[in-house]
Symmetry: C2
Subunit: 253 residues, 2 copies
């Protein structure tokens, strides 16, 4: 099995490195920026190509790991590609391939990737969707080389997963940003709160979050809530978020 | 050094177990519910006592790990205690002890504890505050037996820490709850999102959260934001939170 990769961003990089580590041959890499394709290609013993047309042969599966709004144009340009096409997006429908190619699917890793941060790919949930059973089999074979967590998820459920990931990851990280802002305002180092952040996430690896909710809102501790709101008077944006999330916690008691 | 403990909740339990593990003798434990004091005492080779007055002798430091609003009454009742008194609250001022006892301080562990969840206490940040240098020395000696992360933090900064912990822990966990609600609504197992939650927290152990923010809001990806809002039409409370947090992320770009 030979793979081609389109893209050189966070997702493309992590998938390429994981494939390389698993001993899968990566034939070619194309990126909007040729220099980035070269950098990634060097990392994973692949060949960077300048033209999308050059991908038309030499691989069995082509993984499209680019920004959502770039996918349709890429698919259109790859209409002569002979192998299986799969994109890695949480939000783009399987239908994006229809009429443009014969074998296609989705290979969506439900994880947050940064180039500079290594991670254990074997724990990354891989959400697969495919045109038919044969394609699914082929994508599953590839996925099983990379991860132990493989799910078959259709386009509708994938969108829901992507939305819930915004809450669990993007919004969560933003709360870390706000915590850091509060600390910085009072010249307290972010380091002191890092173990708390890690343990909060660690707790729900075995428990359900509703069962381990703590803090003044779930206790309906009016005194502490009032004290905190007073401390946030000079930060109206944070005050609004404090109130809305506290109300939401109370409603879910 | 002998310790007494007041309380049998999450904080009291974790401190008692960590002290016991470190070979520190726990003399007595008192709790509002005698049965709970007995359960904890059994775990850590201590003696449960029925009356607060029984704590008046036999230990050098008494750690008060009860709910914030119960602290003043406990302090008042312990006015004849000969040793050092320390509470474990993030939000209660050092002044709560003033006029009631001679040696006092604060021993605040900045962590989220659940009785049923074990954790490595050596990484728990312990925030100390003391009436004077002697008391600080004594609390530091105790703290260093339990943790490598010891900070001297005054009452004002401790309140800020507590507030930022609400954002980084309590609100974060609530976002996990909301993610779970979305998934449950579409009959998707929470398991699939657990690795993402863990990695999101893991990332900011070395990076600053502002530098690793991802998602549609930070990219100002209007199309995805609109799609997500459409998916949340039937969940108005989540829609409001989605909008406010997305706006806040955009403002912090």
């Amino acid at each position: 099995m030979k793979i081609s990769i389109i893209g050189s961003g966070n997702v493309a990089t992590h998938i390429a490195k994981a494939l390389n580590l698993a001993g899968v041959e990566i034939a070619q890499i194309w990126s909007f920026h040729y220099e980035n394709a070269q950098i990634l290609a060097k990392l994973v013993n692949a060949k960077a190509v300048k033209e999308l047309n050059d991908l038309n042969s030499g691989s069995d599966i082509c993984i499209i790991a680019v920004k959502d709004d770039a996918i349709p144009a890429i698919v259109y340009q790859l209409k002569d590609y002979k192998g299986l096409l799969a994109h890695t997006s949480g939000a783009v429908d399987l239908g994006v391939f229809e009429g443009h190619t014969s074998d296609y699917g989705v290979f969506y890793p439900l994880q947050t990737f940064s180039k500079q941060k290594e991670l254990d790919f074997s724990k990354v949930p891989l959400c697969l969707e495919a045109k038919n059973a044969n394609v699914l089999k082929e994508l599953s074979a590839l996925a099983s080389l990379l991860s132990k967590n493989i799910y078959e998820i259709d386009s509708e459920k994938r969108k829901i997963l992507h939305l819930s990931a915004v809450f669990a990851c993007n919004f969560t990280n933003h709360l870390y940003v706000l915590a850091q802002q509060i600390l910085a305002h009072y010249e307290i180092d972010f380091d002191i709160i890092r173990p708390l952040i890690e343990e909060t996430a660690h707790k729900v690896q075995t428990a359900l979050p509703l069962n381990v909710q703590t803090g003044p809102a779930i206790r309906n501790d009016q005194q502490t809530l009032a004290k905190h709101e007073a401390l946030l008077q000079e930060m109206p944006q944070l005050l609004e978020i404090y109130r809305i999330l506290s109300e939401s916690i109370k409603k879910n008691r």
